[in-house]
């Protein structure tokens, strides 16, 4: 009897591990292909059939090249793009999280008239395609005389603020009302309750929405392309990549684009690795007891 269950457990473990491997393969393989392409010269890229590692066209020996990386790193545009992207994405995320968590606390835990219209109003702001609002947004920015970086930060609110607000509202709603009541009995003002008790409890949601919003802002292309057209020094990474002229390759610098994509993705992965510890379970479980 005992043997049987342990055999079942082993089978379960194997199945689970297969699942993990399958998921990782699915999610990572296309990225591996980008890395693979970034290590190929132009002639290697056009080999038929495509090779799973960079190979010499004649001898078929393993022969990766770093020339794509070299030309990306020496491209000043790319480095300044990294700096710009970091500034813009960080500011956007911070603003969206602060404004979003304030609004979400009100929408999720306070009673007031106009709660539903406010929720819908915030969501409605992101229901238009970016192309459509582009001209109007450009007019606003020119009228206010905002610099390219500031205009990117503000315009990215259009898609990050509704997202952070809605996700955090859902999480605030899930927190038991008893928490607020007991804090109020202890003499805390609602805002203190929010800052000291509820906000720390929503840490998993804050980290999650923060990461997703950061990456969305980091990757945004259309607004960045438009707003940096007058100020090339403010170009973010996606725009800088789009402007690659092809220093190595004659036509389209595909290898360089892939090298840049690899270089840009790695810091993001490190960022997630650092912050994912914050997505931890069981925070609310103990808080309501007693």
């Amino acid at each position: 009897m005992k043997k049987k269950t342990s055999l079942l457990n082993i089978l379960k473990r194997i199945g689970f591990n297969f699942m993990i491997i399958f998921i990782l393969f699915y999610l990572l393989f296309p990225f591996y292909w980008a890395v693979n392409s970034s290590l190929k010269t132009e002639s290697q890229l056009f080999m038929t059939p495509a090779t799973a590692v960079p190979r010499d066209p004649v001898t078929l020996e393993f022969s990766p090249t770093l020339q794509n990386y070299a030309s990306v790193v020496t491209d000043g545009q790319f480095i300044s793009g990294l700096v710009n992207s970091t500034i813009v994405a960080t500011s956007t995320t911070a603003m969206a999280l602060v404004a979003g968590s304030f609004a979400a606390f009100a929408l999720g835990k306070l009673r007031f008239r106009g709660r539903k219209p406010a929720l819908y109003l915030i969501l409605a702001m992101t229901m238009f395609p970016q192309v459509t609002v582009l001209t109007g947004l450009y007019a606003v920015i020119t009228a206010l005389g905002l610099s390219a970086r500031i205009s990117m930060i503000f315009s990215y609110m259009i898609f990050t603020l509704p997202f952070t607000t809605w996700v955090l509202t859902a999480f605030f709603k899930e927190l038991p009302d008893a928490l607020m009541e007991s804090a109020q009995v202890d003499g805390a003002t609602p805002f203190q309750t929010f800052r000291r008790i509820l906000l720390p409890l929503t840490a998993p949601a804050l980290v999650t929405t923060g990461l997703l919003a950061f990456i969305a802002a980091w990757n945004e292309y259309l607004f960045a392309l438009t707003f940096t057209s007058i100020d090339p020094s403010a170009r973010t990474v996606p725009v800088a990549i789009a402007y690659f002229s092809g220093a190595v390759a004659r036509q389209e610098p595909f290898g360089e684009i892939m090298a840049a994509a690899t270089l840009v993705t790695v810091p993001l992965v490190v960022l997630v690795l650092v912050f994912q510890r914050r997505i931890v379970a069981g925070l609310t479980a103990g808080a309501v007891k007693g």
């Binding site: 009100a106 406010a118 238009f128 503000f154 980290v207 259309l222 990549i241 069981g282």
Partner: protein, 371 residues
């Protein structure tokens, strides 16, 4: 408090209590407004004018980036985009035999030309599609078949890709929610597709789907021996939309998975302990506990994924260009290619209405806005 008010007449006590409650309610309302202020300010500053302008422009014939005079045209743009006409096609009859003519090459039955039966006034209708019903052939004509096509593409794309993303995202979230050794690294690794710049990931997939053996998929299928000649995934009608769905599912499943993972984290562990004691199996636990409790997180994830999918632009624009449109890439074509800003704005408003409809039905269906 209690002993103090004890001496007073009961009516006054009630009154005081009431006013205290309304005081509390008022201060709560004031706090709520203060907290909403930053978000509302941002909306007014950054979204109000552009959105109002889109609504207004959609009723005009404004030309993009030009000094031409703008006229108010009412619902003309909408009429041009959305007019659809369905009519029956008469079969072509062979005069001598009285039988319907058949195309000698394809063997298909022949009907009269759609152009001859579709209305030309006030605007010319062009063929969008044909279908058979009860042995009769009908033609769907539209004044702007490309737009109707883009609506169809976008809706099919959205429904299928969001559905797959939900299932896959849920599976991944459940896996990385359980404890195992490299859980932290796996959580970082699983976000890689979302982290790759959208425009670049579109180019990357375009390369992998290349119509010869320089592309991964054709090289792989050729190696397996399942294809005779390379498939032009991005130029063949049937494969285009599937390719777009595959790219989007790969790219945005992590978004779904991470949101659902955060939702899973807030579920109280005690319920599972209790269920375990009651002898409920893992599968029963999932359907009876996890899924119902996860509903708010699922709703929010669905709303934002659907909203993004209905506005899909980058991958259609980069990979398919003008060979097949999504609503947003058709919008871009009208604005930049045709410089027809009135029409582009009308498309924007139609997308807005569609998204609003989807959002409201999700909210009602999953009951997220209940108190």
């Amino acid at each position: 408090m209690a002993e103090k008010s004890g001496n007073k007449p009961p009516g006054e006590k009630k009154l005081r209590r009431k006013s205290r409650i309304s005081d509390l309610a008022k201060s709560e309302e004031r706090l709520a407004l203060k907290l909403l202020l930053p978000a509302l300010l941002i909306i007014v500053l950054i979204a109000f004018y552009p959105l109002a302008q889109v609504f207004y422009t959609s009723f005009t014939d404004r030309v993009f980036a030009s000094g031409e005079e703008t006229n108010f045209v009412g619902f003309d743009n909408y009429r041009r985009l959305l007019s659809v006409h369905i009519t029956e096609l008469e079969p072509l009859i062979d005069e001598t035999s009285g039988q319907q003519l058949v195309d000698p090459e394809s063997g298909e039955l022949l009907y009269e030309r759609p152009l001859d039966v579709l209305p030309r006034e006030p605007r010319r209708y062009r063929e969008f599609n044909q279908f058979d019903l009860f042995g009769k052939r009908y033609v769907i004509g539209a004044t702007d078949p490309s737009f109707i096509d883009s609506v169809q593409n976008t809706i099919i794309f959205t429904v299928i890709s969001v559905f797959i993303e939900l299932i896959l995202g849920l599976v991944i979230a459940l896996v990385v929610n359980s404890k195992f050794r490299f859980r932290g690294s796996m959580r970082a690794a699983m976000l890689v597709p979302w982290a790759v710049i959208t425009v670049v990931s579109a180019r990357m997939w375009e390369w992998m789907l290349a119509p010869s053996r320089i592309g991964l998929f054709n090289a792989f299928f050729d190696w397996l021996g399942v294809i005779d000649s390379p498939i032009a995934f991005l130029a063949t009608g049937g494969y285009q939309l599937s390719s777009m769905i595959a790219i989007d599912v790969w790219k945005t499943t992590p978004f779904m998975a991470l949101l659902l993972l955060a939702g899973l984290q807030t579920l109280p562990g005690e319920i599972y302990e209790a269920a375990e004691i009651d002898g409920a199996g893992k599968i029963r636990q999932f359907f009876l506990i996890t899924l119902p409790l996860l509903k708010p997180a699922i709703a929010v994830a669905l709303i934002f994924r659907t909203l993004d999918a209905l506005r899909v632009f980058d991958i259609f624009q980069v990979v398919l260009g003008s060979s097949a449109y999504s609503m947003a890439s058709y919008n871009y074509f009208q604005l930049i290619g045709n410089r027809n800003m009135g029409m582009a704005s009308a498309i924007g408003v139609i997308i807005f209405i569609l998204i609003f409809g989807f959002a409201v039905s999700y909210i009602k269906m999953l009951g997220v806005d209940q108190e």
